[in-house]
Amino acid sequence: MALLSIQNLWVSFGGLVALHGVSMDVEEGRIFSIIGPNGAGKTTIFNCISGIYKPTKGKVIFRDREITGKKSHYSAGMGIARTFQNIELFGHLTTIDNLLLGRHIHMKSGVFSGAFFFGKSFPAAREECHHREVVERIIEFLEIEAYRNSLVSSLPYGIRKLVELGRALAMEPTLLLLDEPTAGMNQEEKRDMMFWIRDIRDDFKVTIIMVEHDMNLVMDVSDEIMALNFGVKLVQGTPEQVRNDPQVLEAYLGRD
């Protein structure tokens, strides 16, 4: 059974149908990309997986469990992490606090243990220290040490993208959804990102689904690609297959 399986997914917003019965399977350990023109429904699929939208019809099955229509935090608890197209960071928190929020599902302290600790040996304090250590390693991995204690709203765009990625990694997810990870980056940064995506898959043993416009990156990095157009699945296959598909060329890439 695939790690994530989407079956006949329909989504509509007040009469406007965004997804027309899309199905897809993602095997564990792969990098799976979704491409398609704007408004094709790529982000909508993400939103269905991570529980922001409730599909009108169809199923989302993750690790043999149905998560259709479950709230975001539920799927997060199941091990699905994501980044956002337009960066959704916690602007009034520092980088380290943002990353610590990624550890939220792995932490236990509640109101009372959190409010009353008076030394290192209290469980809340111990837990806090432990997770700070974990986060520290992610900071190292992404090379954002210099920004550890800065408010994220004051960071440059590229760094914020990284922090967001780091925050998703801190969740130690099984499945990572990347929504346009290189949007707004220059070629150099994009290339870095490419390496990182591969490293993340290998080092963290994560399955990655990403939505991306940069064809070069998509073709290079992905194991499998699905092309969408107006909510309809055009084709799914290896980069080569997709690159040469006439429908994809027509709808998306254009013929130069």
Partner: protein, 254 residues
């Protein structure tokens, strides 16, 4: 037509643009290329009078008239139209109302002929006049934003990243339209990250990095530059990264 002389811009306390000078000649398409945070958008916003008390130094001239320090609502009637980054339409106004707002500063009543003219460029819009702009797709919104800017009959049109977030096919279409607008007599100043596309239609381009113009010239000249090839055009794309040795070794976690 438009000239920036040694402009310095601060954003809060941080200097974003350092001594920028550039010229846009009448009838041309000029493009500013550069990565995120290079100060391109800030420059445009400053030209449009968005940022109060800026530029800190230098001057901006439009048709022999100094326009820095002017309010936006004074600048627009002088013949500059601005298409902001990211499809900034009025989502809950109809397409028609959106277009009417484009003609806000005009005193004459001859708006309808312009509407017809706009439909020549953007046939999609014609059928959707009564639709709310927010219900348009991303590409249509971008077209509407450009159409709206045209409604003020600008002499100079400034576009901020018209290709942002659009599919390759749509990008081509929009750039085609920009070119035809230019041919009809409107001067164009374009800010782009998609260097390849921008260079394909521009008459002259600037490359901006951390608040300075580092290179300028004709597209041909720029395309030959090695740095531009590597960092802006991504020329080596045909060979895959898979075959490359990483030049940076990342630290491993675990």
């Amino acid at each position: 037509m438009l000239e920036l002389k040694n402009v310095e811009i601060y954003y809060g306390k941080i200097m974003v643009v350092r001594g920028l000078s550039l010229k846009v000649e009448e009838g041309e398409i000029r493009a500013i290329l550069g990565a995120n945070g290079a100060g391109k958008s800030t420059t445009l916003k400053t030209i449009m009078g968005y940022i109060e008390d800026q530029p800190e130094k230098g001057s901006i001239w439009f048709e022999e008239e100094r326009i820095d320090g002017m309010k936006t609502e004074k600048i627009v009637p002088r013949g500059i139209a601005y298409v902001p980054e990211g499809r900034e339409v009025f989502p809950e106004l109809t397409v028609r109302e959106n277009l009417m707002m484009g003609a806000y500063t005009r005193k004459d009543r001859d708006v309808d002929t312009d509407l017809v003219k706009v439909f020549d460029y953007f046939s999609v819009i014609k059928d959707r006049l009564k639709q709310l702009a927010g219900t348009l797709s991303g590409g249509e919104q971008q077209m509407l934003a450009i159409a709206r800017a045209l409604m003020s009959r600008p002499k100079l049109m400034i576009l901020d990243e018209p290709s942002l977030g659009l599919s390759p096919l749509l990008v081509s279409e929009i750039f085609e339209i920009i070119r035809s607008i230019n041919r009809a007599g409107t001067t164009i100043l374009l800010v782009e990250q998609n260097a390849r596309k921008a260079l394909s239609i521009a008459d002259h381009a600037f490359i901006m990095e951390s608040g300075r113009i580092v290179l300028e010239g004709s597209p041909e000249k720029l395309s030959e530059n090695e740095d531009v090839q590597e960092f802006y055009l991504g020329v080596r794309q045909e060979t895959s990264v898979k075959g490359y040795q990483r030049y940076k070794r990342k630290k491993r976690w675990r």
